[in-house]
């Protein structure tokens, strides 16, 4: 129980969910970019802001009730019975007129989202590394 309290407490589950979400989002962005010249393809999206809001709500709920982090599901993402994150990207709405080939993909937007997604993932990975490093130091009982 003690070990699970250590690994399920603090920011660790939040960071783990963030890593899972950015990994799934990376896959979706890669699909959008691979299909950038496919006629009739509609770009997919995962709402990062909605995900962060769900994380924030879950974190606040955990602070009040205790226990493990429970993410309230939405149409795009939900956690399954063992706590793994499942995502279903939705179709990106066409803001402007569709292009002649029936696509709505804007390569600039997809590349910008890709760069942003990679940075969020790296930030979460670094923070998680720091958290584990702290636990390791506590286990060893010395500062290095």
């Amino acid at each position: 129980m003690l070990m699970s309290d250590i690994t399920n407490g603090g920011a660790t589950p939040l960071l783990e969910k963030t890593l899972a979400f950015t990994a799934a989002r990376q896959k979706m962005l890669a699909t959008n970019i691979a299909n950038i010249t496919t006629p009739g393809y509609r770009a997919k999206q995962l709402d990062a802001e909605a995900f962060q809001k769900a994380l924030r709500d879950a974190s606040q709920k955990r602070r009040v009730t205790g226990g493990s982090l429970e993410l309230s599901g939405s149409k795009e993402f939900r956690t399954d019975s063992v706590g793994l994150l499942n995502v279903t990207p939705s179709e990106e709405p066409a803001e402007n007129l569709l292009f002649q080939d029936g696509t709505n993909a804007r390569i600039e937007r997809q590349m910008a989202l890709l760069a942003e997604n990679a940075m969020v993932n790296q930030a979460a990975a670094e923070l998680l590394k720091g958290a584990f490093h702290g636990i390791e130091k506590a286990i060893r009982g010395r500062a290095v």
């Binding site: 962005l29 691979a34 997809q110 990679a118 590394k129």
Partner: protein
């Protein structure tokens, strides 16, 4: 995570086939004989890209490479040409070099976009592996 690499690779493969088809068109701009030796203009070929990897997964693949039978071939009067018909007209392929060049540029840029996606995914994988290192 490795699924993202497969998806970007499928994009690279599809765009390379697309580019192969386009440069094949440019190379055959003056071809007046078919592969089987019959007289007749080479017809412009188009790679048809379809989403999905063809086996149910995500990605993109070239469904087929088809001949463009819609656009008109160029008819040029040249009675001395060995491939001229009874009226002295030679039929040249329905290939417009500027269209092909624009399509080639689109294919190259799409290829580059997939490469960038691969680089990004690689950096994500590397940073994830560093968590416990």
């Amino acid at each position: 995570m490795f699924g993202a690499l497969d998806i970007s690779t499928s994009g690279l493969v599809a765009q390379r086939i697309n580019l192969d088809t386009i440069v094949g068109n440019i190379a055959n701009m003056q071809t007046t004989q078919r592969v089987d030796g019959q007289t007749g203009p080479y017809l412009r070929r188009v790679a048809l890209l379809t989403s999905g990897d063809g086996r149910g997964g995500d990605g993109v693949h070239v469904q087929s490479v088809v001949e463009d039978t819609q656009s008109k071939t160029r008819a040029i009067k040249d009675p001395s040409h060995p491939d001229a018909d009874a009226n002295g007209i030679v039929y040249y392929p329905n290939i417009d070099p500027s269209t092909e060049m624009v399509n080639a540029m689109v294919a190259v840029r799409a290829y580059e976009a997939n490469l960038t996606a691969i680089e990004s995914t690689k950096s994500i994988v590397a940073s994830t592996l560093r968590i416990l290192a």
